[in-house]
């Protein structure tokens, strides 16, 4: 790969970096030493300051105090341009591609030296040649708006490599990838690092990845470094978790199998939904979710899961077929949602489940603001009641306290996720559609969410769990279906699920659609 550069990556050090946001201390004298050729994992709970530290090091955010030293020289990074000049670049936790352009256009326009007159055929050929060398499947002709989160993530990484950045900061790059893809991505980055061509700084909540691929680890807690070590055999996931939260995280047990079959709450028949990307439509012949059952949907992102979820949540119209809830046609309006006690946690919750510029408190009460106690008899919004309800919902998944009045878009990624979970996974939810519910959560909170799903199931909630985390699906699901190119290509009982078979089906190699499929 030529564009990774011939020079070795520079050594990047942060010394005593500090940054506050109003009363919030995001970073409190943090040190970081990224040696050339290392894969440096940055760990910590939600809100620990990982993203803030990374942003300071790529010039996206100014530190209040402290120094940044690159190859022994003090540097000032006022703008991402300054960092680019030094070969430092970042893949953002929230995507930063131009949605209405194609992948190829995004990649070309990202180059500071983009020519005035672009020979697209030449660019396309150059990109195709480049991609041969990178284990990331992307379609250069696709429009970014039509891509699912996982596909966008791959484009983001390719873009950094194309820009010739030699120290890559990746903020939770794998949270939207399948385990295989994540392994491939990190393995590739690690190989490049081992060859001394790039360094990688990685924030993630998946400790297995850290163990498998990182060379160094730095753990932040409330803006301070609490551990910093090269990764060796003596360090396992439990150790890392203990460093992060101060104690070992609880594990979630597989739920006991259901005894009797409950009635189907959600039932999908002969459904056809047009795809955003214009690919093959979502075509599901039959899929049922019963009360007290978790049905897992596995699949590489971009295979129709998004459109299925949007159709269920009223965000996309159904072309053909039927979605029934409690044996009645599903109209995703407020009255039906309330009657069905429906909850929905979509992917990219900031974009799909919040009004980003409205306050956290307002976003927390989106399901209940038009009822007592928030709505008064005269149709007024009672701010005090709103605040109280929001506080209660925020507490459920420990959304950052004191942020209720702030625009939800200013919260850390994990906190947005917690807020939407708090709103949708209330006690009386009886039908839940959740996409990657533990997305961006630290180990403790992720375990909380999974426990919560199991609790809801126990109280008779029907759960459709769309996830790119196979372990999560296998641990939680009563039944797992695999989606590929809009269709259900495999259906299996959770207890009998075989990672190998699931992985093959996800990649489209499934002649083995099981006989047990679809009740």
């Amino acid at each position: 790969m030529t564009s990774a550069g011939l020079d070795p990556p520079p050594r990047v050090e942060a010394r005593g970096l500090a940054r506050r946001f109003g009363p919030v201390i995001a970073l409190d004298a943090a040190d970081l030493d990224v040696r050339p050729g290392s894969v440096h994992a940055l760990l910590g709970e939600n809100g620990a300051g990982k993203s803030t530290l990374a942003k300071c090091l790529v010039g996206a955010l100014a530190a209040d105090r402290g120094r940044i030293v690159v190859d022994g020289r003090d540097v000032t990074l006022r703008h991402p341009r300054d960092a680019h000049a030094l070969g430092l670049g970042m893949v953002w936790q929230h995507f930063s591609l131009v949605p209405c352009l194609t992948v190829l256009e995004n990649l070309v326009l990202a180059r500071p030296d983009a020519p005035r007159w672009i020979d697209w055929r030449h660019e396309r050929a150059a990109l195709d040649a480049f991609l041969e060398d990178v284990p990331l499947r992307i379609d250069p002709g696709a429009r970014v708006a039509d891509l699912a989160a996982g596909e966008k993530q791959r484009v983001e990484v390719v873009r950094q490599l194309r820009l010739g950045h030699r120290v890559l900061f990746l903020d939770e790059p794998t949270s939207v990838l399948t385990p295989q893809e994540a392994d491939a991505l990190l393995g590739r980055l690690r190989a490049l690092a081992d060859a001394g061509r790039i360094s990688v700084v990685l924030t993630t909540h998946k400790l297995d990845e850290v163990i498998a691929h990182a060379t160094h680890v730095t753990v932040l807690r409330r803006g301070r470094v609490v551990a910093d070590a090269p990764l060796d055999r003596t360090i396992d996931a439990a150790t890392l978790a203990t460093w992060m939260v101060g104690h070992a995280p609880p594990s979630v047990a597989r739920p006991a199998p259901r005894d009797a079959r409950q009635p189907a709450r959600l039932s999908i028949r002969a459904l056809r939904v047009a795809r955003a990307a214009g690919g093959p439509p979502v075509a599901i012949d039959a899929l049922d979710v019963h009360a007290g059952e978790i049905v897992g949907v596995a699949g590489v992102s971009g295979n129709g899961q998004r459109e299925l979820v949007e159709a269920l949540c009223g965000q996309r119209s159904v072309d053909q077929g039927a979605i029934d809830v409690d044996a009645r046609p599903w109209r995703a309006d407020r009255a039906s949602m309330r009657a069905a006690r429906f909850g929905c946690v979509p992917e990219s919750p900031l974009a799909n489940a919040t009004a980003p510029d409205m306050a956290l408190a307002d976003n927390l009460v989106l399901r209940v603001f038009d009822r007592a106690p928030i709505a008064s008899r005269t149709g007024r919004v009672r701010r005090d009641a709103l605040r109280a309800s929001a506080q209660a919902l925020a507490a459920r998944f420990a959304v950052q306290s004191g942020a209720l009045g702030r625009a939800i878009a200013t919260l850390s990624g994990g906190n947005v996720q917690r807020a939407v979970l708090g709103r949708e996974l209330v006690d009386d939810t009886r039908l839940l559609v959740a996409v990657n519910p533990a997305f961006g959560l630290d180990v403790g909170a992720a375990a909380d969410v999974r426990r919560r799903l199991v609790e809801l199931r126990a109280t008779g909630c029907a759960v459709l769990l769309v996830s790119e985390d196979l372990d999560e699906l296998i641990t939680l699901s009563d039944r797992i279906v695999v989606m590929f190119e809009g269709r259900v290509v495999l259906s299996t009982l959770g207890v009998e699920a075989d990672r190998q078979a699931l992985g093959l089906a996800m990649a489209g190699h499934s002649a083995i659609a099981s006989a047990r499929a679809d009740n």
Binding site: Q315, M337, N352, F369, T410
Partner: protein
Amino acid sequence: MVDALRPALESALLSAGALAVAAVLVIALVLLVGHDPREIATTLARSAFGSRFAWENTLSRAAPLMLAALCTAIPAHAGLVVIGGEGALVLGGLAASQAALFVADVPPFAAIAITCAAGMLVGAAWIGLVGALQQARGVNEVISSLLLSIIALGLFDWLLEEFLRDPASLNYPATRPIPDAARIGALPGLDVHAGLAVALVACVAAWWVLRRSVTGFAIRVVGGGVRAALGVGLPVGRLVVATCVAGGACVGLAGAIEVAAVHERAGGALHADYGNTGILVAFLARHHPLAIVPAALLVGGLAAASGPLQRGFDLPDAFVRIVEGVVFLAVIASETLRGRLLPPAAR
């Protein structure tokens, strides 16, 4: 600082800053055409706010501006940019002038109510169409409201010339004068028509509904994140159309009041650009229904000073329009500073 106050404070600072920048630009312009900016400023201030008469003049102009601004500000809460108030205003005025012809024998209060209702109805239908097109067919509301406004102006001229013209109005085509019963009088003790009170009530009502009520909350969710609104089952289409209908009713009412309180007939004078200037007022107020009141006073004062400025300094008719344009540009440009003025707002 209290987080909840931050956006409001930021909006106020942005508007004030934009006005300051616009003032500097206008001063440069005045110097360029060879006048003393101080003299112009004095004249402007005096003829807008310097006397009882000036105030009455300004207030009479501010009233339709407030209602016209609501036509942009109310749909803005649902995320729409509606800029077609002018057409709905003249059609509303025309409808009012015709309805008024039927109410000569009705008690005055009812006559006025019927006249105004006619204007509101037509305005609501016209702008409601903008919302309906956007929801049903995905037609961009900026374009459709602009084009529908042009159609409305053409329709107005045609109806007036062909069918509704008073034969007695020779060189100034206009409808027949409305009967006394439908005329709106002055506020007690002031030479300002009662439409001002109506406009103020409309602003306060819009504020209450949009910023305090449950419906307004739902509307703001639609404006802040359509996908989230759909995901929690809000009737997005109905809410969007409702904001357009409400905004259209306001601007139609402005037309009706102009007819019933000022011109006493519908004619070319109705097309006095209140609808377009209302867009400026709405943006200056950052679509806050209460902030529309001072913004309308400011812009109304500018309009009131237009005549004296032209006469006193031999400035062209376009001068005040240029000032308005500069203010508008400054206001829109200042919006790009939102979030940088009072951090934090970075993601």
